[in-house]
Symmetry: C2
Subunit: 202 residues, 2 copies
DNA sequence: GAAAAATTATAACAGTCGTTAGATAGAAAA
DNA sequence: TTTTCTATCTAACGACTGTTATAATTTTTC
């Protein structure tokens, strides 16, 4: 189907990836229940039945996307943190915010699809996704605990609430269009400034 | 249908309100596309066709719920602000956060349904909902401008970003279960402390 | 009580849903 | 070329969708 293709990658993998990509985009815009297999097939220049050569069901296709959504964010953040393992705790938090936000707004829609569709997906799928999330949650819990242990975060700040606040700020950006001129990194820095130094005059 | 009913309220209005309430609850849990009229009817101990006596279409029913969702939050916040019109700008912000969060987590699901379903609703409905949102956005813009004009918010803090951050923190609480023991008001206070004084040691 | 009005149920419509089995085309291997 | 495997299409299945016209029922009015 694609005109140009590296010799070492199978058509199978290319089509599979295309289906995943375009389905993710549809999921972001239309949601889980409103996106039909025929919608997906049309976006891939295919027929609905052909999708079953690559995926055993609609839910299997969706679940793979949403799972990859979390995993992409987690591995991007983890990679950035590993490259600065000896930095100051709060710097690590700031970088994690930047990478999280950048991954959310990059060209692919996997992470956005996860955020947009998570709560409306069938119960058993959501249960499995929740397990996948937990690993990423632990990354953040560790980051904030380290910063508080180092005395950089005030002792009376509840870390769970702080984590809610940070992730909420970042993920909620999907609901707005970011101010033109301010990329994800710039926005993340502004959020960092608000959450850690506060919006008030010091 | 309901066993007990005040003498001065019409059966029509009671049924209509019940349909709205229960549909809102379904929308929160299942989303727009996955909630069928037969689901709704069953939740109301009715048949799907009977819903058309009260609403001219599924979308009309949904739109009324989502619109009321914003309006409830706005009027609750506005009412609280009117009762403290001469308070310090930041106190007004803190109270707005509390009322917003409390309305989001009260027994009715209108505001939650709006937040959960907004992005997956048909395009024309979403356009109209966006107009409704604008009025509430203006309330927040005014609140923050006043606080910055009074010198309570640092001059170099971008107010649009701050608004994103605050609304994002508050609305994202729908995706977690709030820490047991901390009600909406307590959580709002913690968020206020984070956003305005910062999580760092001063 | 009967008559009128308001509210819900019934049953079907055309269309779409996820899914499947089998046919078909294309590329790779022989 | 012939054969074999890969990838997609076709056409249909039963179930479900929003919606409608009409009938039945309940509630209110007299």
């Amino acid at each position: 189907m694609p005109a140009i293709r590296r010799a070492d990658e199978k058509l199978r993998d290319v089509s599979r990836r295309m289906i995943l990509d375009r389905t993710a985009s549809l999921l972001v815009r239309q949601g889980y229940g409103t996106t039909s297999l025929r919608d997906i097939a049309q976006a891939c220049d295919m027929k609905a039945g052909s999708l079953y050569y690559h995926f055993e069901s609609k839910d299997a296709l969706v679940e793979e996307i949403l799972t990859e959504g979390v995993n992409r964010v987690e591995s991007a953040v983890q990679k950035a943190l590993d490259a600065m393992f000896d930095a100051a705790p709060l710097d690590r938090v700031r970088v994690a915010m930047e990478v999280h936000l950048r991954t959310l707004h990059d060209r692919s829609d996997y992470a956005s699809a996860h955020i947009r569709c998570f709560s409306h997906v069938p119960d058993d799928m959501r249960r499995r996704l929740r397990r996948t999330r937990r690993s990423y949650d632990a990354v953040w819990a560790g980051l904030l605990e380290a910063a508080q242990a180092a005395g950089d975060i005030a002792a009376d700040v509840d870390l769970l609430t702080l984590r809610f606040a940070i992730i909420g700020m970042l993920n909620w950006t999907l609901e707005w269009r970011l101010p033109s001129g301010a990329g994800p990194e710039e926005m993340a820095d502004r959020f960092y400034r608000i959450a850690f130094q506060g919006a008030c005059n010091a």
